[in-house]
């Protein structure tokens, strides 16, 4: 026997999408940022932990990592942040054409991030993953963040294709805004790791 129900209000007037912390997807994205961000913290911890096993860092006989390509990547990353602000603003304005074009640019930029990361791993680090624990640590940090770069590329590409091919619903603007938010995480999380992996071998 069920209890009688007593209507006390109606939610039919509420919007069918929302932005940022009003949106459920935003909280999902933030949760995954917490997981991925903490994984990056752990990779940095492993890096520092292994440092104590060596008298010099990098170990003798291994060249220090090059700085040119990694610094170019960091500069490009920082330069891309205003683009993300524009995507966020255009999304909130539900400006289809603008979001579509900005996402296209973002896809190209994200591809460049990935190519530069491959260059860093193969040309800038000057060490292989299987040379010693120093090499393993360098590849761990760059590889872990590189996996996120790859996911960011897939996500951005997918969102761009949706905005070109449709169907596009209003809620997709909220998703595009989340892509921009995730981009900030990818860039900002890399800054300390860049210092650790490329300047660390010069400082400690």
């Amino acid at each position: 026997m069920s209890r009688p129900r007593l209507p006390v209000g109606d939610v039919g007037h509420l919007p069918t999408h929302a932005f940022h912390n009003r949106d459920m997807m935003w909280w999902g994205t933030v949760s995954f940022i917490a997981i991925e961000g903490f994984t990056l913290v752990l990779t940095a911890t492993v890096y520092v932990y292994l440092r104590k096993n060596f008298s010099t860092w990098p170990p003798e006989g291994i060249a220090r990592p090059d700085l040119v390509a990694p610094s170019v990547l960091v500069a490009l990353m920082l330069a891309s942040l205003p683009l993300m602000r524009m995507i966020d603003r255009a999304s909130r304005a539900h400006d289809l054409m603008r979001v579509r074009h900005l996402l296209t640019v973002a896809t190209v930029v994200s591809l460049a991030f990935n190519l530069l990361r491959i260059w860093e791993l193969t040309q800038s680090l000057n060490v292989r993953w299987d040379t010693n624990a120093y090499g393993s640590a360098q590849w761990l940090v760059l590889g872990a963040h590189g996996t996120l770069l790859l996911m960011q590329y897939v996500e951005t590409l997918g969102m761009t294709l949706i905005f070109w091919r449709g169907p596009v619903e209003k809620k997709h603007f909220s998703d595009a805004s989340d892509v921009a938010g995730y981009w900030f995480f990818i860039v900002l999380s890399w800054l300390p790791l860049y210092l650790l992996c490329f300047w660390g071998p010069r400082w400690f």
Binding site: T16, T39, A133
Partner: protein
């Protein structure tokens, strides 16, 4: 929040036809497809949770059979039933399965069923992710047990210490199976944690402020937050470090090349110790629900209970080194981790006092669920006390790697996980199936389980104090351990009998149990405000929460009516999104349709991770496959499109 409109009961006879039409429409909108297609595509949290719980229980039984074989081997000195190699696989798979395939996932599986109902939502927050998580979990579990049955079972212990598990001392693929099983289960655990977090934070019934969240839901909130910060450590250590040391010759744990075996222990236990609390904090939530329901009063000291859960979740991250007292760590570190290990007993003790106060001041009814809750208090307290003992470094060094430790953690895990789990099944079985479990068989179940647990595990304390090491496949008659080991095996047999009674009870009650109705216990929380079993859409209208016990007008007294909010579109899968702190109605979220692509995504990752046991190139090809599956999963179909800005473009 909207205030009360003038009362107008919806069961007015004039509304009967409209109600029937609306329910039929809701059923068409939310019900999964029939047959195997429905099985592969459903995103209903209840359907997925049911199979999740059953799957975890099957793994529990299989891992339990491992234990039975081990106990038969150890029942007398110099038994020759099982050789050392097989014994190593049996105990490793037993521990791995109980931890990664039962204790944590069964709690998450129950939460996947219960939390959306308890917060008054129509489904879990990310239903496709939920389906994906189940398939990942299933693949991981099948991988582990299949490997055991073809003599490739992991054999380096459930925590797979290096260098034993490294490439030098563990040739073959056994440890790789372990590492990838962990990968599957951790991915499943993490996505479940995210779904549950967002469900709790964003889809609570209007009015369910933070101060009105049921204690069980609080326990899941804390557990999910812990998972977010604990699981990455073991996922990274096993997938990105141990597996890579073995597969592509990295040197994370190879001391000869600057690696560090102790690093594995730090990473593993940074996950492994919070894991203990991740397992039993949901159990504390179960006990709160059981005690509240059958004591007929709200749990005593709600704010203190919530604070205790939060403190436990926080302090749990400061204990991991107490698993490493036998390693060369600084004296200061030992002192700190001893203090923290003792400290964490305080919040749990506070909760135990609150439950006792609730029972004391309530009108307790000794149902089977309540007996399991009381059994939990006794068994778990004994486990907690031996835990405080081994927090002391000198004592820990004496009993390290002995059966005393085996006794301690079985008291904690059976007490903290299995007792509350069984109690929870007796409480919520009628909600899930529509029928009550037999109380008569239930009493046999709880009695045998309580006796079996103590007969099996209490003598292990004595064996450990007498110096019997864990993980030995036999021992000499001269040790004098034979009789106590025989007693332990007898206890294990009693546990087997109790689990058999439980299985019979479930099977019989599914067909012949007394029909439950909507709320057979006259309980307090929202999951009881919908039919048993709940319909695919959970609630016809969004329930409104006006107190911590929304179905009671006062302690133990059922409320006359349930306030609800109307307005969700029955033609679409809409759920109500509310604000985080005050649960004010905010927007209506369009929920995704059913789809097979989470299954295919899990399958493609299954190929990836299992293939990667043999070649790193599977990561490359597998990532491509998974990307394709994800593209199909995420691509909008346009079905039930809402606020369409641009239609789908046809072929040019």
């Amino acid at each position: 929040m909207t205030t009360h409109a003038p009362a107008a009961a919806v069961d007015d006879p004039q509304d009967a036809r409209r109600e029937a039409e609306e329910l039929a429409l809701l059923e068409r909108t939310w019900a999964p497809a029939r047959g195997i297609r429905g099985w592969l595509t459903t995103t209903d949290h209840k359907a997925i949770a049911r199979r999740y719980v059953v799957t975890t229980f099957v793994f529990f039984v299989l891992a339990g059979l491992n234990a039975v074989l081990m106990r038969l081997q150890l029942s007398r000195p110099e038994m020759t039933l099982i050789g050392p190699d097989r014994y190593n696989q049996l105990f490793t798979v037993h521990g791995t399965a109980m931890m990664f395939l039962f204790a944590v996932p069964v709690m998450q599986a129950m939460a996947i069923y219960l939390v959306p109902l308890m917060v008054g939502a129509r489904n879990i927050s990310f239903p496709r992710l939920n389906a994906f998580g189940y398939w990942m979990f299933l693949i991981g579990g099948v991988l582990l047990f299949t490997s055991l049955y073809v003599n490739t079972g992991p054999d380096a212990g459930w925590f797979s210490y290096v260098p034993l598990s490294g490439p030098e001392y563990s040739a073959g693929k056994r440890t790789d199976v372990w590492a990838q099983t962990v990968t599957f289960t951790e991915v499943a655990g993490l996505v479940a944690a995210v779904e549950l977090l967002v469900t709790i934070l964003k889809t609570r019934a209007p009015g369910m402020t933070l101060a009105r969240i049921p204690l069980y839901v609080w326990s899941i909130l804390v557990t999910s937050l812990m998972i977010v910060f604990a699981f990455p450590a073991v996922a990274m250590a096993s997938t990105m470090m141990l597996a890579m040391d073995r597969l592509v010759a990295t040197h994370f744990f190879n001391q000869a090349e600057g690696g560090d075996p102790l690093l594995w222990q730090h990473l593993f236990w940074f996950f492994g110790h919070p894991e203990v609390y991740i397992m039993f904090i949901p159990g504390l939530g179960f006990v709160s629900s059981i005690v509240e329901t059958f004591s007929r009063r709200k749990v005593f000291g709600y704010p203190v209970m919530v604070a205790s859960l939060l403190v436990t979740g926080f302090v749990a991250f400061g204990l991991w080194v107490h698993h490493m007292f036998a390693t060369p760590i600084p004296q200061l570190g030992r002192s700190f981790f001893t203090a923290a290990s003792v400290l964490i007993a305080v919040p749990t003790g506070v909760q135990i006092f609150c439950w006792i106060a609730t029972i004391w001041s309530g009108r307790p009814k000794l149902t089977t669920a309540m007996l399991f809750a009381i059994g939990f208090i006794v068994v778990f307290t004994i486990g907690g006390l031996s835990g405080v003992m081994i927090a002391s470094v000198p004592f820990d060094l004496q009993v390290h790697d002995t059966f005393f430790i085996v006794a301690h953690f079985h008291y904690v895990i059976l007490g903290g996980v299995v007792f509350p789990f069984f109690g929870a099944v007796y409480l919520w079985f009628p909600k899930i199936t529509g029928r009550l479990l037999s109380e008569r068989l239930g009493r046999w179940h709880v009695g045998l389980f309580f006796a079996g647990t103590n007969v099996a595990f209490f003598p292990m304390h004595l064996l450990g104090l007498d110096g019997m090491p864990r993980r030995i496949y036999t021992y000499l008659p001269e040790t004098g351990w034979g009789n106590l080991n025989l007693l332990v095996t007898l206890g294990a047999t009693i546990i087997v009998a109790s689990v058999a009674v439980f299985i019979v009870n479930v099977l019989v009650s599914l067909r012949h149990g007394v029909r439950a109705g909507e709320d057979p216990w006259a309980a307090a929380t929202l999951e009881w405000a919908t039919p048993s079993p709940p319909p695919s859409y959970n609630f016809r209208h969004v329930p409104v929460c006006e107190s911590r016990a929304p179905l009671w007008s006062e302690d133990g007294v059922p409320a006359a009516a349930l306030p609800v909010m109307t307005g969700l579109d029955a033609h679409k899968r809409q759920i109500l999104v509310t604000t985080v702190l005050d649960a004010l109605p905010d927007n209506r979220h369009k929920h995704p349709e059913d789809t097979p692509w989470p299954f295919w995504m899990a399958a493609s990752l299954g190929v990836t991770f299992i293939g990667a046991i043999f070649s790193p190139w599977f990561y490359v090809w597998g990532a491509g496959l998974a990307t394709l599956a994800f593209a199909k999963w995420a691509w909008p179909t346009g079905k039930y499109a809402e606020d369409l800005v641009m239609p789908k473009r046809g072929p040019r």
